[in-house]
């Protein structure tokens, strides 16, 4: 199977979607010749033209709003928000419009819209270019939230998101763009709403998603050297969350750590912990622990950014407290 970078897997998904479905089109800032800030769309405007790879002015809220209108009337827009931080400008169109219209209009319309956006820190870009804001969107009824952790999932989940009849927030951990993995060449969809067991283990369960998954796997590796076998669950879709797989993984070991790159308070980990407690209380041998970023804006200096972001050491420390 061909090996692709995570970023290439996304580009391939976009290309196959454009090829496969004439109603798909892309919108975003600098996504044409320039190829987008992370080069994801490089080459696509040359192949599919400026109509279907539509560069926009810097107007995030209305760009998403236009996509909502286009999605309601027969197209499938895929919007790139250059950095997830900028999505806050479009919060109104996403939450008050895209996510609600299907329900409040009693099923008469659908809003098949994908918003792709790179998230996360690790590059010293500072507080306005480094956030993981997915937890803000977790509480929005009508919106799906997807975060891939491998190149193969990046492609399959993106294709499934584009075909989904709902608005989907597709979060791309930018730290993973440079990760390589096997990616089937043909068109395929990886179903939304299903978690993936990334590693088997019977002693404790590490629940992660996106950029947290490689951290969890590294921690699992270290734990194994100490004789503890960690199961690693990759949530993949945060909403709808795969309760069945999540609860089975939690019950299997009774000891859980939830890992995320966003800040601790009000994070995705809170929701996971609450679900695990509600659904697997009898099996729990220890409190569900959360490993996340510190509750501060993301600083730019490398020393500070590292201190604020969650680490393998944090996971190991949390694991220690489970036994």
């Amino acid at each position: 199977m061909p090996e692709l970078y995570f970023s290439e897997a996304i580009r391939q998904a976009l290309e196959q979607a454009l090829e496969h479905d004439p109603s798909v089109f892309l919108m975003g800032e600098d996504i044409g010749l320039y190829g987008g800030a992370f080069g994801i769309t490089r080459g696509l405007s040359e192949k599919y033209g400026a109509e279907r790879v539509r560069e926009t002015p810097i107007s995030e809220n209305s760009v998403v709003g236009l996509a909502v209108g286009a999605a309601m009337t027969g197209l499938r827009p895929v919007v790139e928000i250059m950095f997830m931080d900028f999505i806050l400008l479009a919060a109104d169109q996403i939450i008050n419009h895209a996510a609600k219209l299907h329900y409040i209009y009693d099923g008469q319309v659908r809003v098949p819209l994908v918003i792709r956006t790179p998230a996360g820190a690790g590059r010293g870009y500072g507080a306005s270019h480094s956030q993981n804001l997915e937890s803000l969107f977790l509480s929005v009824p009508g919106l799906k939230v997807v975060v891939p952790a491998t190149p193969a999932d990046a492609k399959g989940l993106l294709l499934a998101s584009i075909r989904d009849p709902n608005p989907v927030l597709f979060v791309e951990p930018k730290a993973l763009y440079g990760v390589k993995g096997e990616v089937p060449a043909e068109y395929y969809e990886t179903p939304l709403g299903r978690a993936r067991t990334a590693r088997q283990g019977g002693d404790l369960t590490l629940i992660a998603y996106g950029g947290g998954v490689p951290l969890a796997l590294r921690a699992a590796h270290d734990l194994a050297e100490g004789g503890l076998e960690a199961e690693v669950l990759d949530l993949r879709t945060l909403r709808p969350m795969d309760d069945e797989t999540l609860l089975a993984a939690a019950r299997k070991t009774g000891r859980c750590i939830v890992i995320e790159e966003g800040p601790l308070t009000g994070g995705v980990g809170a929701e996971v912990a609450a679900r695990v407690v509600e659904g697997a209380f009898a099996s729990l041998k220890a409190p569900v622990r959360r490993v996340a970023a510190k509750d501060s804006p993301i600083p730019s200096a490398m020393t500070l950014e590292r201190a604020v972001m969650p680490s393998v050491a944090d996971i190991l420390a949390a694991a220690d407290r489970l036994f």
């Binding site: 926009t56 002015p57 709003g65 209108g69 999605a71 309601m72 419009h97 319309v109």
Partner: protein, 306 residues
């Protein structure tokens, strides 16, 4: 005069429905809030994406008064079975994309519908309604800019009723002239007496011609007035009774009726008035007999299923 008779029928229907809405609200038969467009009927005739003040637009697009009232009353016969309510009604089958509770929220959506129309080559032109207050939202500018850049088939119709809730245009629109805004994007624009339905139709028709011909978006400012308060709780402390009287004297219904009578259409006018009265009475009857919408699995239905 056929078009004017048709216009009169629609305007009268809007007025009659809004009056019943006001009464039903006062009686408690309508829950929530709603924004009446009484006084502004002349603007509504002929047009597809609306604002919070959208009952008239929907009726002008051929909306069924019973299904509109049913929506406000939370009945199963409502266009959205009461899920939406006054500010969130959509009737895609009529080309009515929807009312919108967020000031300025419908403007990019309308613009996106125009983008889709252009990309799909459907020949459709979109009409987008909003008030003077909405022209201060960032989405207004962002959307007009994109529409102009991409020559999208959309006619923006600003119903300038001199106030955004209680705030007069002079205190919210710098320079005071809304038409300077589309002009900043080099967009063709016009101002029209929004109390004169024929003038509105002519002006809109002229601009729509250009839009339909592929010349890109256009902008119409219709000067109008809302005869009632902003919403049901409004005591109208921000304007004078004299100003209201001046505008009442220009009631578009009265003007249209007078024109028709002067042209000898008394029998037709009588028939229309009778028809509308019974249509609205019937609509209300239908709603009173319709059951309240029973809850289902609302959380599951927040998502569309493939």
């Amino acid at each position: 005069m056929r078009p004017l008779l048709d216009a009169y029928r629609v305007m009268l229907l809007i007025r009659a429905v809004e009056e019943r809405v006001a009464a039903l609200y006062a009686d408690g038969a309508i829950f929530g809030t709603c924004h009446l467009c009484i006084g502004q009927e002349a603007v509504a005739v002929g047009v597809a994406v609306s604002s919070h003040r959208g009952h008239g637009h929907l009726l002008a697009m051929g909306g069924d008064p019973a299904r509109l009232l049913g929506e406000l009353m939370g009945r199963v016969n409502g266009y959205c079975r009461g899920r939406g309510g006054s500010q969130h009604i959509s009737v895609p089958a009529l080309g009515f994309l929807g009312t919108n509770g967020i000031t300025g929220g419908g403007i990019p959506i309308a613009t996106g519908a125009a983008l889709a129309a252009k990309m799909r080559n459907t020949g459709v032109a979109v009409v987008c309604f909003f008030g003077d207050g909405a022209t201060n939202q960032g989405t207004f500018h962002e959307s007009l800019n994109m529409a102009a850049l991409w020559r999208l088939p959309v006619l923006y119709v600003c119903e300038n009723n001199l106030y955004a809730m209680s705030e007069p245009v002079a205190r919210t629109v710098a320079g005071g002239d809304i038409l300077q805004r589309p002009r900043a994007y080099a967009m063709p624009s016009a101002r029209v007496d929004g109390m004169d339905v024929e003038a509105v139709e002519r002006a809109a028709g002229r601009l729509l011609e250009g839009v339909r011909a592929g010349h890109g978006p256009a902008f119409l400012e219709a000067m109008t007035y809302r005869f009632c308060g902003h919403s049901k709780s409004d005591r109208r402390v921000y304007r004078t009774r004299e100003e209201e009287a001046r505008w009442s004297a220009r009631d578009p219904l009265a003007t249209t009726r007078a024109r028709l009578l002067a042209a000898g259409f008394e029998p037709e006018v009588g028939r229309i008035e009778h028809d509308v009265r019974s249509q609205v009475a019937h609509a209300e009857e239908v709603c009173r007999h319709a059951s309240e919408t029973p809850p289902g699995d609302e959380a599951a239905e927040a998502f569309a299923h493939a």
